[in-house]
C-alpha cells in the first residue's frame, strides 16, 4: 500500500489538453552503493572500491553524467575503464526522447554486470524530486534535478560511510550548469577535463566527441550550407504540403548526388533527386529528411558520371569547382526527374562507420579526415593524436555533428579494427558493415543451453515416436558439421513406400522468449563466409546436440509420407521423434552407393528408392513451371529455392544434391499447407513474387539478338522457352541466358499469412511454401517448427506466436538479416577472389559479355565464375569514340561494335591503388581496338585449376 507516501500532482499542458498525472514519491529507493548501511538494497550495484585513477580525483568516486554527456560521450562511457556510474532517471528519460540508439546502448551498459552502472530513480525519490518553478524551462528544471540528486548522493554517502572518502563527481559540459553546481558545493568537471585527467589510458581521449564549443576552432567562419529549418516549421511544412518527408539515399558513385525516397503513400512523387553539396545540405545516407521541391524548370536528369570525393586532405581548400563538375553533363529533357533540396533533417540515422584515416599533410596535425568504406557516407573529420599508429589500419568512427560552416561532418575515433588487407580485419569490417551480429554468445545466452552430459530422457521418449530402428541417413556436402536433415525410405507391407524427412528438433532446445531464443531471433540466420561461419545458435547445439550425426540418438521433427511408386502422396504424418542415423554421407558417397550395382545394403536400397522418387517429383515440378536458374558462381552449390550459394566446397552438382533438395521442398510445402490450415492468421510462410514484366526486357532483348523468343507470361512459359533456347556451336549460351534470367527475379521473402493475400512462390511454382528443413541455421524454421508442434499438440503455444503483428515484424527482421547475410557473403567472395588474383599476378582469360553499358561492358569469366567490368573511359587517357544503342543493346567503340554474349579476351588483375576499395580490373585484349585494347601479357601463366585460398 502507498499510504505512507505523499503525492504530488504533475500537470502537463500540451495543446489544449490538460493532462493530469499522479506522481508518487517513495522512500524505498536505495542509493545502490555497497558501503551504505542505511539503504536496504539486497544487491547493491555500485562498488565500495570505485577506483578510476585520475589526477583530479584521487579518491574513490561515482560518476554522474548529465544528459548531454550521456548523449554525446556514450563511446567513452562504454569503455571498460569507466565503471561505477550513476545514471539518473531524469537523464535516462531525456536520452530516451532524444536518441533511441544511445538509449539502447546505455541500457545495454546498465545490464552489463561488470560495468556497475546504477539507475537511480530520482524522480520518484522523496528527497530528490523537485517541482518546476514558475518561469523555469523544462531543461533548467532537469539540470536542477540532476544537481539536487547529485547533492543528495554526496550527503547520503558522507553520512553513511562515517566520513569515508567516497564521493560523487558530476560530469557536465554545460557552463552554466557547472557554475551552479560548484556554488551548490558539488564536485563537478567537464567531461573532457575529467577524461584527460585519467591515468594510463590516452586512447580514451580520442573517443571524446567534439562539442559545439570546440568546433568553432576547427572550421572557418565561412558558411557553407543553408541553415536547417527547426522541427516545428518542418512539421507544419509537411502538413500543408510545402515540404516532403523521405529517406535520403546517397549515390554510391557520385558524392554530389542523392535521392530522397518519399515514404508516404498517396504522393504522386516518390523520388526526389538532389544534386550538389548545397542541396544535399549535410544529409547523410539513411537520414530521414525534409525536402523542398524545385519548380519544374529547375529539374535535372541524374548524371551518369562517376565522381568520388578524393580531393586531398587539405582543410580549407574547399573545392568550389565541385559544383561545376556536374554542370558539364548536357541535360536530356526526356529524363528530367523531380529535383529539390534538403531543408531540414527530421531524424539522423548515424551509426559507427568502418573505414580508414587519410592522414593530414601537416605532420603534427591532430585533425584528420576519415574515409568510410561505404562510399555513400561522406568523409568525416576526426581529432586524434595517434594518427601515425592508425595509418594503414581499419578503424571505426562515429559522427558527432555537422555544423553549417563545415565541409565535412565532425566525428570521433571509436576503435581500431586491425591492419587493412588483413584477412581477419577485412572479415570484421565486412561483418560490421553488413550489420551481421557476430560477437561471441553472451553468458546469459549460454546459460540456456542444456547441461552436459546430455541424454534423451524417459520423458522425451514417452511423447515421441521411436524411429531409432529406421534406416535413416543424411547426405550433405563434405565437412558439414551442422546436419539438420536426414532421410529414409522403405517399402511398406501394402506395397507402398514410406518416405521420411527428419529435421533436427531445435525448438526442443530453444524455448520461446529466453535469451537464447532472442539472440537467435535477432541473428536470424547463420552466415557463411569463405572459411568462416557465424552461427545463429551456439556451437553446442549447431554442431552437436542438434546435428543429426550418425550412430547417435537425436531428437527430430519428422515428416513422414506414404507414397505410391508414382510418388503420389497418400498420407502425410508429422511427429516429434527420436532417430538414430545410420550414416552421414557426402553427396559423392551417396552417389557412389547408388551407382554401385554390387551394393545392396539397407542404406543403399533406401537411397535408390529416394532417388527414383525424387526424379519423378522433379519432373512433375518442372512440368508445372518451376524454374532452373543458373548463377555464374560455379564454385558454389546454388540453392535452387533462394538462389543463394549455400556451400563453398561442392563444385559439381550430383544427382544426390537434387535428390535431397527435392524432398526438402516437398517437406516444406507439406508443412506450409499444414500450418496454414491450422493457423490461417499467423502462419509464417515464404513467397516469391512474380517479377513485373518490365524486368524481363533485358532478357528478351538479349535473346532477340540471337533470333530467339523468350516468353515470360508465366513461369511455365519462361521455363519452356529457356529450355529451348540453344544456339549451335555455343553450348554456354543457355547458361548465360539463365544467369540473365536469375537477375530478373524478385527476392523471396518471409511473411505472416494474416498480413498478406498473395502466397505464390514463383520460382518453385508452388501455391504455398515455407521453411522447415534448416532450423539450425535459419530462425524462420524454428518458428515454423513451433507452429507445427502446436498444430499436432506436441508443444504448447505462447502469445507472440499467435500475434500476427509481432510475427510480421519478426519477418521484417529475418528478411533484412537474410539480405545482409547474402551481401556479406558476396563481399567475402569478392575479397577472396581478389586475394586469389593478387597472388597470381596479371593473367588473361576468355569471357562473355553479360551486359553492355553506356561506357563499359560487363564480362563474365566462366572459368572462375566471376564478373568484371571493362571501362572505356579513363581518367588519364582521352576517351575513345563511344556510341551506345539501348535497343540492342550495343556499344560502338571506335570501329568495333559490342553485342551481348560476344566472346572476348581480357586480362585480369587487382587494382590496389585504393586500399579500401581494391577491385578486379579487366582490360580488353581481343577484339583488338587500337588505343583501347591492351597487348597480351608477355609471360602467359600456365592455366591452373581455379582454387581459392580460403
Amino acid at each position: 500500500m502507498l499510504k505512507s507516501k505523499t503525492f504530488v500532482k504533475k500537470t502537463r499542458a500540451g495543446g489544449v489538453l490538460k493532462i493530469v498525472r499522479e506522481h508518487y514519491l517513495r522512500d524505498d529507493i536505495w542509493c545502490g552503493s555497497e558501503v551504505c548501511k542505511e539503504c536496504k538494497d539486497e544487491a547493491p550495484v555500485l562498488q565500495e572500491d570505485a577506483c578510476i585513477e585520475s589526477n583530479l580525483c584521487s579518491y574513490p568516486h561515482y560518476l554522474i553524467p548529465d544528459t548531454n554527456v550521456l548523449l554525446h560521450q556514450i563511446d567513452i562511457l562504454e569503455h571498460t575503464l569507466i565503471r561505477n556510474v550513476i545514471i539518473l532517471q531524469t537523464v535516462l528519460q531525456e536520452v530516451r526522447h532524444r536518441s533511441a540508439p544511445v538509449y539502447k546502448r546505455i541500457k545495454d551498459a546498465i545490464h552489463e554486470k561488470e560495468k556497475h552502472f546504477y539507475t537511480f530513480t530520482n524522480e520518484h525519490h522523496r528527497e530528490t524530486f523537485i517541482e518546476r518553478e514558475p518561469g523555469e524551462s523544462a531543461n533548467d528544471r532537469n539540470d536542477r534535478a540532476i544537481r539536487v540528486a547529485a547533492k543528495w548522493y554526496a550527503d547520503h554517502l558522507t553520512k553513511n560511510t562515517n566520513g569515508g572518502s567516497l564521493k560523487v563527481v558530476l560530469l557536465t559540459d554545460d557552463r552554466a550548469n557547472k557554475e551552479k553546481a560548484e556554488q551548490y558545493g558539488l564536485t563537478v568537471y567537464r567531461c573532457e577535463e575529467y577524461i584527460k585527467s585519467l591515468i594510463g589510458n590516452p586512447e580514451l581521449v580520442d573517443r571524446l566527441a567534439l562539442k559545439p564549443d570546440d568546433q568553432n576552432e576547427i572550421i572557418g567562419s565561412k558558411l557553407l550550407f543553408p541553415e536547417h529549418l527547426p522541427l516545428s516549421r518542418i512539421q507544419s511544412g509537411i502538413k500543408n504540403g510545402g515540404l516532403l518527408q523521405g529517406t535520403f539515399h546517397a549515390n554510391r558513385d557520385n558524392y554530389l548526388e542523392g535521392t530522397v525516397f518519399i515514404n508516404r503513400e498517396g504522393e504522386d512523387i516518390n523520388e526526389v533527386l538532389l544534386q550538389g553539396l548545397q542541396n544535399l545540405n549535410r544529409a547523410v545516407h539513411q537520414d530521414v529528411v525534409a525536402v523542398e521541391l524545385f519548380p519544374k524548370e529547375r529539374w535535372v536528369a541524374p548524371s551518369s558520371v562517376v565522381l568520388q570525393d578524393d580531393s586531398p586532405n587539405d582543410e580549407d581548400a574547399e573545392e568550389d569547382e565541385t559544383e561545376n563538375k556536374l554542370k558539364g553533363v548536357p541535360p536530356d529533357s526526356s529524363v528530367l526527374k523531380p529535383t529539390g533540396r534538403v531543408v531540414g533533417v527530421i531524424k539522423r540515422n548515424w551509426r559507427p562507420y568502418c573505414g580508414m584515416l587519410s592522414q593530414s599533410m601537416i605532420k603534427e596535425a591532430t585533425r584528420h579526415l576519415f574515409t568510410p568504406a561505404d562510399r555513400r557516407i561522406p568523409r568525416i573529420r576526426i581529432e586524434t593524436r595517434q594518427a601515425a599508429n592508425l595509418a594503414g589500419q581499419r578503424i571505426m568512427v562515429a559522427i558527432d555533428g555537422w555544423p553549417k560552416n563545415s565541409r565535412y561532418p565532425n566525428g570521433h575515433f571509436v576503435k581500431n579494427l586491425g591492419t587493412a588487407g588483413d584477412k581477419e580485419t577485412e572479415t570484421e569490417v565486412l561483418l560490421l558493415e553488413h550489420d551481421v551480429p557476430h560477437l561471441p554468445f553472451s553468458p546469459a545466452v549460454l546459460s540456456f543451453l542444456p547441461k552436459m552430459p546430455w541424454s534423451i530422457t524417459e520423458e522425451d521418449m514417452k511423447v515421441r515416436a521411436d524411429l531409432r530402428h529406421l534406416c535413416v541417413c543424411s547426405v550433405d556436402p563434405p565437412g558439414c558439421t551442422d546436419i539438420d536433415d536426414a532421410l529414409h525410405c522403405r517399402e511398406l507391407e501394402n506395397g507402398n513406400l514410406e518416405v521420411g524427412v527428419h529435421i533436427a528438433d531445435v525448438s526442443h532446445f530453444i524455448r520461446p522468449g529466453n535469451a537464447l531464443d532472442q539472440e537467435a531471433a535477432s541473428r536470424g540466420t547463420t552466415v557463411y563466409l569463405c572459411g568462416k561461419r557465424i552461427d545463429m545458435v551456439p556451437e553446442l547445439l549447431s554442431s552437436n546436440l542438434c546435428s543429426l550425426r550418425s550412430n547417435v540418438e537425436r531428437l527430430a521433427f519428422s515428416c513422414i509420407w506414404e507414397m505410391n511408386h508414382n510418388a503420389e502422396i497418400i498420407k502425410t504424418r508429422f511427429t516429434k521423434s527420436v532417430i538414430n542415423s545410420k550414416a552421414s554421407l557426402t553427396y559423392a558417397e551417396a552417389q557412389m552407393k547408388i551407382d554401385d550395382t554390387t551394393m545392396n545394403d539397407d542404406i543403399t536400397k533406401s537411397l535408390r528408392g529416394l532417388n527414383r522418387l525424387a526424379k519423378i517429383l522433379k519432373g512433375r515440378r518442372t512440368e508445372k513451371g518451376a524454374l532452373t536458374l543458373s548463377s555464374p558462381e560455379v564454385r558454389f552449390h546454388i540453392d535452387s529455392e533462394t538462389h543463394d550459394p549455400i556451400d563453398l566446397q561442392t563444385k559439381e552438382l550430383k544427382e544426390t544434391n537434387s535428390m535431397v533438395e527435392e524432398f526438402m521442398l516437398l517437406a516444406n510445402i507439406s508443412v506450409a499447407q499444414k500450418i496454414y490450415d491450422e493457423f490461417s492468421e499467423c502462419a509464417l510462410l515464404r513467397k516469391h513474387p512474380s517479377p513485373p514484366p518490365s524486368n524481363y526486357d533485358i532478357l528478351i532483348k538479349a535473346a532477340k539478338s540471337k533470333d530467339l523468343d523468350i516468353h515470360t507470361d508465366s513461369a511455365k512459359a519462361l521455363a519452356d522457352s529457356l529450355n529451348n533456347a540453344t544456339v549451335r556451336n555455343f553450348p554456354y549460351f543457355n547458361t548465360l541466358l539463365r544467369i540473365l534470367a536469375t537477375r530478373c527475379m524478385m527476392q523471396a521473402v518471409y511473411f505472416c499469412s494474416g498480413m498478406d493475400s498473395d502466397f505464390h512462390h514463383y520460382g518453385l511454382a508452388s501455391p504455398i511454401y515455407t521453411h522447415f528443413t534448416s532450423p539450425i541455421r535459419r530462425y524462420a524454421d524454428i518458428i515454423v517448427h513451433r507452429l507445427l508442434a502446436v498444430a499436432i499438440n506436441a508443444d504448447s503455444t505462447y502469445p507472440e506466436l499467435m500475434d500476427k503483428h509481432k510475427q510480421s515484424s519478426l519477418c521484417n527482421n529475418l528478411n533484412y538479416r537474410h539480405k545482409m547475410a547474402q551481401y556479406a557473403q558476396r563481399a567475402s567472395v569478392a575479397f577472396h577472389t581478389q586475394l586469389f588474383f593478387k597472388n597470381k599476378g596479371i593473367i588473361n582469360e576468355e569471357g562473355f559479355i553479360l551486359f553492355v553499358r553506356k561506357n563499359a561492358i560487363i564480362i563474365l569469366i566462366p572459368k572462375f565464375g566471376m564478373e568484371g567490368t571493362v571501362f572505356f573511359e579513363n581518367k588519364d587517357k582521352p576517351s575513345p569514340r563511344l556510341k551506345f544503342d539501348s535497343e540492342g543493346p550495343t556499344l560502338e567503340v571506335e570501329e568495333h561494335t559490342f553485342h551481348m554474349f560476344d566472346k572476348v579476351k581480357v586480362t585480369i588483375s587487382v587494382d590496389a591503388s585504393n586500399i579500401q576499395h581494391q577491385r578486379i580490373r579487366m582490360a580488353l585484349i581481343e577484339p583488338v581496338i587500337p588505343g583501347v585494347s591492351v597487348p597480351v601479357p608477355e609471360s602467359e601463366p600456365v592455366a591452373k585449376k581455379a582454387k581459392l585460398d580460403c
Binding site: M1, R21, L25, H97, I110, H111, T121, H124, Y798, P799
Partner: protein
Amino acid sequence: MAGLELLSDQGYRLDGRKATELRKVQARTSVFAQADGSAYLEQGNTKALAVVYGPHETRGSRSKSLHDRAVINCQFSMATFSTAERKRRPHGDRKSSEMSLHLKQTFEAAVLTELYPRSQIDIYVKILQADGGNYSACVNAATLALVDAGIPMRDYVCACTAGFVEDTPLADLCHAEESGGGTSLALALLPRSGNIALLQMDARLHQDHLDALIEAAMTACKGLSKVLDDVVRQHLEEVSVLTRD
C-alpha cells in the same frame, strides 16, 4: 517520438508505483443527507460519486418488479469535465448503458436481494474525473454507498483492473497505462469467498497470461477491500462518537 515507458527496468511505473501497488485510495461515506446512502471515492485521479436510494417500492410499471427479490437499478454517467477533452455526454449513450448494465450485474451478485421482494434499489454513480479504472471506482464507491444505506450484502464488492506489460501484470491501471496498448481486464471480487462477481476484458489475451492476470487483479481487490473496510469502520467510529452523548 518514443511512446511511454510503462515499466522501467528498475520496476517503476510511470507514476512511481511498483507493478503490484495500488493507487492511493481515499473515500468518505454519507456525503449527502437526502440519500439513503452515499459515498465519494478517489482512486488516484479517478473520482467517483455514488448515491443509493432504497429499497423502496417499485416505481413505474408493476411488471418490472419481481416477486421473490428486489430489482437493482443502476445508472452510470460521466461528468462533462471528467476527461481531458471536454465532451458533451448525452444521457444513456452506448458506453454508459453498457457500464450501467455491468454495474447491475455486479451488484445483483452481491446484494441479498431476496430479502426485499417486490422492491427496488437504485444506485446512481457519476464519474467526476476519469483517469483509468472507471468501472472499478464505480463499484468501490457504490459498495460504500450500499453499506452506508444499510443494505445487506454478502460481502464488500471490490473491483480493480490489471493489465499486461511485457510479461508483468500491473495492478490498478491509470489512464496512460490503459491506453498504452496491451490487454487489460476489470475484475469485481467478493474477497472473503473469493467469488468473482464480474470479469470483463475487451481485447484478446493469450490463454497463458490469463491466470497470472486474474491473480494480480484478485490480489489487488483484496488489498482494496482492506481499505474500504477501514473507511467504513472509521466512519462508524466517527458517527458513534457523535451519537454517544
